[in-house]
Symmetry: D2
Subunit: 336 residues, 4 copies
């Protein structure tokens, strides 16, 4: 029996998840959709030829008896409201990042879920589902490089549009590293610092690009993340873990090796979707499988909260130039 | 509506395909199984907790009204009989390699399918479904290395058991290259030659290992395939295409790059199943999707026949040491 | 006509340079040696079968009419005295690093050389003579990666002995990066910061290892250098230059690629001498050629001074944990 | 005391060797030169500012009391005569390849040298002096890949001029592999075969390009060498040695790794001189050092003869399409 899903938000990512659940994943069926623009919602249903009902709003959809679990893919500021409503309805909910646009909003969701007494929320961080990161974690966890001491990371995009602002290097870009590195190391951030290198002439006037974010973890591991969103040459995600006895590096995407034009080369991806598309499938399948098995796992509301707290500290560090403490409360037993 | 599959043969690969169809692939359901050992068939049904009926023999299963399409994963010598029966019943059939144990058997299947008037048969050659080979073919087809002139290939296994004989280097090992390289080049073989290098001391007394197979295609492309099934170090599949203006090489499997113990290294797989496991999923899903869409594609009975004719020539070349012509008849319009 | 060299200090590096000048390089002849241990000096002369005279002390050697140019390879604290004496004698002098053990000592040498009016001093920084760094600089200078914005570097040794103290990570190890990165970028440091990651359990109790040094240049380029002298796995020097439009990385030493034991691997060097041995030859040949042509080039007394000033700032940053300004005076016209 | 060299032939390679001996190598001095064009010889002496005397012809130069050793860099067909004259004069001689233009000519030189009773001849095969091939041989000789069973090689040039004919793929191109692979394996060829793949459209009408040469050694090792002299993309020398337990591959030239324009790339050389320039220095220095030490080593007249015999067999195999035996006589004790 397929899991009956309701989807709130039928923009680009919502539509893509609906297609994924309908055509690619096992045991899932989208039975209900809604959007602030109901015509668009209806169009997506028609385009993808799924027999889903269009609901007038998110709350109606959440409370429909036909809907067993929710995907929240609406505008970021509306996430908190819909996730809280899902928890109130006792229904499992997969929420695209951000879980909420403020750390305080995340905290409220954490509290609601704890009060509910059972995990219902999975946050849409897909990198822990990427095969490369999983292989990297397996190497770390095997002990073959000893304890991790340092991580050298880079998050590079070919270019960004005019609406991309300096703080989005944290909230839209670094947020993925803030999530995946916590998971990779099973550790938490205690301080952050941001430095601004010489600005690239390829970046628009209003944007400070690149940036380097320095993170310190509770165990003392030091992480440097280069965020460079106008690097021109490709979408390139690097992660090198320096351990006591060796170094492990995130695999490069597998490519045909070429010899031509006086170059020995492998293609570098230009589009972030190509890099993580398989991880999206795995991530959502895990949610569906988890709900059907009665046990939501994956990135939790606490993980969403922890990432939000760290992101807030990074933005403060962007502005102050100082080393900023990350004030994450103790982790509730519920999330251990 | 899931495709209702009947599976003939519940040995290792049969069982694996049943699991795949039941748990991993979309829109498929195994409703019927049989095996020469009926107890084993029943055990597989029980172990995998699928509600499939155990049939007394292949023909009963093929002709069951509950079965829409067949998987033939029985003992090689029985393939021809079951595939012919499936064609007679007008049912789509996925047959594990070999399509038949003789080229003549393959020819009969080709003739039966042509007489039937519609493609029903897909042969279990999985390499054309491997992401790496597909990327390599895309590079060739794009024209960016010009016309292919030479291929340098290797098929290496760590070791083989006592039952592996010299001719199995062709029928069990090279057979994959015989299939995939035809597909890669959209070309046919016209001559073959086999040379025996110095024998490895790691090979058992009765086995000539390694071997080098030299193939010539209709377009004049020259292919050398090293077959080395006791190479000790790993399961390693190499394919380098030398074109007029550049060279393209099959991607290495993506691995964590390590620096440790005075070595910069990437792991090499040891087990062939790890190398092509994803291709098995894609291959069978393609069969299921094709049947549901009314159009079987993928490696055809003709492809199985062509591979068998080439394999026969290779075995003759092993014995004679001479350059042997490959006498493939003209391709019927049906398979163009 | 060979250049007649006098060598002060016949310890390990002195002896190696004597052998180099006598057996490997063109147009050089060691005619005079001395050491605080005269017996050792005599032994080196005898061992290497060179017809050099043993002088009672450095000053006698410097002022000998038979000596045209000097190599100072004595104990670090004695460098300043001998270099100043060489300048006073108007003789070209190649001084192993450090030029002097204090920035003030370096400054005095700079002033003496400027007063003399002609370049006489070359400091023994060999990395600018390494083929890999030269290739990297050629790429940067070609403009093909745009302006350099960030450098990610690592200096790793397998292990160090008990006498290696925390500040030697700066004075003995980082000093090479402090020199070569200024040269690579044609830029100067304006601030430094040092952070201490979680300590490796492989480091002795008294040593903080690894360390990360963050450097800012006058042009705004940001550099991070990981210094990790107990990394176990190899002697590994990494340098990645992130430019506006691309990235260039220091070549790995050329190695035989191996496939064995389930690994695709290249050897990593374990001994720093193997990594830079060719650069020592090129460096000293450049000194010899320069002196013979009447024009000493290569790393100057000013470069030695600038590295010393930056090193002092790094040590202050180790102790304070703060961002420390690098107070390098304006570069004299003499050194432009 | 420098070795006093006489050089016969001041064309491109002769001039380059004169420069090398005069400016780069240790302990050598060119004191005599000659050429069929005496004006050119005089011009080279003037251009390079060496104090060498111009002799009226090769024989006068060989017999001059001022000349201790010879470099023969004249037109190929004249090599035999000058080498024989050098042996008659009892003087060490470095002869650029070919040693003689016929195997018979090589044999006469071998006989003359054996009759003389001491090695005087070194043939200008430089690849055994290449650092990469030496590293590869060290791996083979260490036993870490077991006995070599197969070699997969390629010799690729971007393009060749109109005067390059099909047999020159053997005499000018493959000749380097014929030499270096004998040395690498310490083995001799017993049979050869040549196959012609589909011709590249980039090759001129009269030229068959590419070619594949298949060699069998006395120990049974099988070698395939792709010769492709219009490959467009670069000058690329590949050599992969497949042993019983592992594979070793000739190092790629060390290059800056680039990330730019959606490619992760390393430059490939376009000019063969860049690839082996260091090997020329080492090769000639070895000759000079050998003569001064009274012991010429390096590629011998026998090696030149063996390469010539194998080349003759390859040309016969080009014409016949058959497997051709290589009829090398037993090696004289003198050359063991």
């Amino acid at each position: 029996m397929s899991l009956k899903l309701g989807v709130i938000g039928t923009g680009a990512i919502g539509r893509d998840h609906i297609r994924r659940c309908s055509q690619t994943l096992l045991n899932s069926q989208v039975v209900a959709v809604t959007d602030i623009n109901l015509e668009q919602a209806a169009k997506v249903v028609a385009d993808l030829q799924i027999g889903a009902e269009v609901y007038p709003d998110g709350h109606a959809l959440i409370n429909s008896a036909h809907v067993e679990a929710l995907l929240v893919t609406s505008w970021g500021p509306s996430h908190e409201e819909f996730v809280l409503a899902a928890i109130a309805a006792g229904k499992p909910v997969f929420c695209e990042k951000p879980l909420a646009v403020t750390a305080d909003g995340c905290r409220k969701i954490v509290e609601a879920e704890v009060a509910h007494g059972k995990r219902l929320v999975q946050v849409g961080f897909m990198r822990p589902y990427d095969e490369g990161y999983r292989a990297l974690k397996a190497v770390i966890d095997s002990g073959q490089i000893g304890e991790p001491l340092m991580l050298h990371c880079a998050h590079r995009n070919p270019s960004v549009g005019e609406n991309y602002k300096t703080d989005m290097a944290i909230t839209d870009t670094l947020i993925h590293e803030l999530d995946v590195l916590r998971w990779l190391l099973a550790d938490d951030y205690v301080s952050v610092q941001v430095v601004f290198p010489r600005k690239s002439s390829k970046a628009l006037a209003h944007l400070r690009d690149p940036q380097i974010v320095l993170l310190e973890t509770a165990k003392g591991t030091r992480i440097d993340v280069e965020v460079f969103v106008n690097c021109q040459y490709g979408y390139d995600i690097q992660c090198e873990v320096v351990g006591e006895t060796g170094i492990a590096r995130l695999p490069e995407p597998s490519q045909v090796q070429m010899r031509s034009g006086a170059k020995l080369s492998n293609a570098i991806l230009m589009d972030w979707k190509d890099r993580f598309i398989a991880a999206y499938d795995v991530e959502l399948q895990a949610f569906i499988d988890g709900v059907r098995a009665g046990q939501v796992s994956g990135p939790s509301a606490w993980d969403g909260f922890a990432a939000a707290v760290a992101a807030d500290a990074c933005i403060e560090a962007q502005n102050s130039g100082q080393i900023v403490k990350v004030g994450l409360p103790d982790r509730p037993a519920f999330y251990r």
